[in-house]
């Protein structure tokens, strides 16, 4: 860590350091992949890659929405609860039609996003508090819908969605990829994406430029919640059961970690879509690598925590220039 605080870096070393900081997540990901290729048997096997992809897909999807919210200098703690709500909707409506079930799951996401977004955009409540409400209540509502039980789901369409592959790639991973492309387009190519970045970078300036700040904030929270609802639906489909007690439990932490490790500053003004995807995959691979190499679950968590703190430390450096 001493390199970070070396007082007078030369121009070239400063540039090199900047490159490392901006692209740290890709470098770290490459290191972990290379290490596994050498040290972990069967790492490159099709089965293992497929397994990792299926496991990481929901985190990627939730983290993409989270990146957008964090880009506005906000945060959404309710994503896990929204996943549970979507799972409950799927359980209730799957008997009528799998498509209706998916639609209702997404509708639950829209409703949750409108609630979060209204609290933030129109009542001016701090995002961490505004979304804490659903974080606490959302899972309770989901449990009430399913009478507090795990509901098993026997539906071929949903099962295919959760477990089948297309060209050897799990459908869940393809969906996550498509959502990442969509998010990248939104952030980089649209006025909406620029508005998000401007609000996070300087909210007063965004207001003064006549941008529709409140509407943008509302939509940002809706998108985040809809992404979370999609993730909840996919998890439900994969496990063939809706379990509101555990679907998406603590996923807000993984998502925030992926976003931050991916290079999006917590104080907003930037959204790194590809970095977020890489951040989610990195954290997944680190965890599974440690487990595969016989570290206990609790030790693995401590390593994860160290990575989070290191990532935030770099963020701080970046923000304070």
């Amino acid at each position: 860590m001493t390199a970070v605080t070396s007082p007078v870096p030369s121009v070239s070393s400063e540039r090199a350091w900047r490159f490392v900081r901006e692209n740290g997540v890709y470098i770290a990901l490459a290191v972990v992949v290379v290490f596994n290729l050498i040290a972990t048997p069967n790492f490159a096997s099709l089965r293992n890659v497929q397994l990792q992809l299926v496991q990481v897909a929901p985190v990627v999807i939730v983290a993409l929405g989270m990146a957008l919210v964090i880009g506005t200098a906000g945060i959404d703690l309710s994503v896990g609860a929204v996943m549970a709500l979507a799972a409950a909707m799927v359980a209730i409506f799957v008997d009528q039609s799998p498509w209706l079930a998916i639609g209702m799951g997404l509708a639950a996401g829209v409703a949750a996003g409108l609630l979060n977004g209204s609290l933030v955009a129109f009542l001016g409540i701090q995002p961490i508090i505004a979304t804490l409400g659903l974080f606490v209540a959302g899972r309770g509502i989901a449990l009430a819908f399913t009478s507090g039980r795990l509901v098993e789901i026997f539906d071929p369409t949903l099962a295919a969605l959760g477990q089948n592959r297309l060209w050897g790639i799990p459908i869940a991973a393809l969906i996550a990829g498509a959502l990442a492309v969509l998010m990248a387009l939104l952030v980089r190519r649209t006025q909406f994406g620029r508005n998000v970045v401007a609000i996070g970078g300087n909210a007063r300036a965004a207001l003064g430029a006549g941008l529709p700040v409140r509407r943008v904030l509302l939509i940002v929270y809706v998108i985040c919640a809809v992404y979370a609802a999609l993730a909840g639906t996919l998890v439900t489909a994969r496990s063939a059961a809706a379990d509101p007690s555990f679907v998406g439990l603590l996923i807000e932490l993984s998502a925030i970690t992926a976003v931050v490790v991916g290079g999006t500053p917590l104080n907003g003004g930037k959204v790194r879509v590809l970095g977020t995807v890489a951040g989610a995959i990195l954290m997944q691979l680190v965890f599974s690598t440690l487990i595969r190499h016989d570290l206990s679950d609790s030790d693995a968590r401590m390593v994860q925590a160290a990575i989070i703190i290191a990532a935030v430390y770099f963020q701080r450096d970046r923000g304070s220039k």
Binding site: T190, R194, G208, A209
Partner: protein
Amino acid sequence: MTRGEPTLQAIDLTKRFPGVTALDSVSVDMYPGEVHALVGENGAGKSTLIKLINGVYGADEGELRLEGEPFAFAGPRQAWEAGISTTFQEINLEPFMTVAQNLLLGREPTRGFGLVDVKKMNADAARLLRRYGIAVDERRPLGSVGVAVQQMIAIVRAVSTDAKVVILDEPTSSLEPNEVEQLFRVIRILRDDGVALLYVSHDLDEIFELCDQVTVLRDGRRVHTGPVAQITRLELVATMLGREVQDVRSSGKTAFDIEGRRIGAEPVLAASGLTRHRVLTDVSVDVRAGEVVGLAGLLGSGRSETVQGIFGLMRLDDGEVRVKDSVLKQGSPASAVSHGVGLLPEDRKADGIVPTMSVKDNITLAASRSVTRWGFVSSSKVEALVKKYIDRLQIKVTDLDQGVDELSGGNQQKVLLARLLCTNPDVVLLDEPTRGIDVGAKAEIQGLIDELAMEGLAVILISSELEDVIEGSNRVFVLKEGVIVGELHGDAISEDAVMDLIAHALTDQSEHGP
């Protein structure tokens, strides 16, 4: 007035920051039992001087002496312990603790084991409050008493350690008139006790009522020191603004040329009855196509607040803004922008620049209508637009994707002007467009304002440099304490006339009482 030896002497203090000399060889002597006023416009160096005295900064050159002894404090805490107390504009106390706890914070009487002797603490506090004539229950939480009382408690807390020097930085900025009287009573008690007081204020009434000496700073230099009794209000205003009372120049120093403008018949924008409690009272201004309307007045007179109220950045209690035939939605800058009104904010860092975005994105931020199609940003349209304004405003950038935070102040200001012009506005509100930028960029921006007016844009201009407003404007509204005290047209616009209005409005006010 018993002068004796000065309690505190500042001798030839100089403080430089990168790019500016904030304070240039300034000397001030403060005597026991005197209230010494420190005045000057924003950026004159008042706060730098205070921060040198109380040890927040170290001086680059010069010397400070307390009762004849040279000193240099490492921080406000050390200064406080040596007898120099400072109260700042924002009250810096704990709202959830009691009045007594706040008064004695950090030096509570204890009963051993570090336990606070609450009874003795309350008794000590009550004695202090009685001494300064402050009627408040010392056991109440501080947050539940009025702002004035909080302010006085801050002062009493500051002086209750045998202070020799007390520095008051705009203590009345958040007080009602009757509360100001209460505060003055406390200040007079301190003065009579032989404390040397430094009183920073923009309010001339207060200075003439309370202070014995006055020092005027301008652009980091001391331009006047003398007894308050020997200066008139008009002279003081002129000194603050850097003008001789009789000195009337027609033109020549700025890049403005108001002859070539063709002014429309009907106002493009008309604001009427803008009112916000304690900020603006029934302010009405209007501007026509091709016209530059100046807002003049001292700092805190409501100039910036007027344009913020028009633009919707500041909520109003009452008032209406019409642009052509429609009424702007209250409190909505988006409505103002969509009706062709743009604001160049006074504080370009806090309210203008988005530091995480590129030059390109900063310029086109507000121009979504001309660079997007179906919500998608067209990069070719963005580049064309950005290049056009970079050429026109001579913005110095290495490339269009350069981070805007890497630009100089003048170029950042031009980026914001470009952002404004990208929206093809009919009315622009320019709040201090030339502050804090170098002379060259300043002349360019003045020339640009001129050009814009000739092209038929309606401009409302604010500048704390009086000559900018005088020479650049076709019409000038003069503001004082949130009220328009006069409107000057054409040949009647002169520095004398503006200063006269400001000074007379003060006289009127003091005659009618607070």
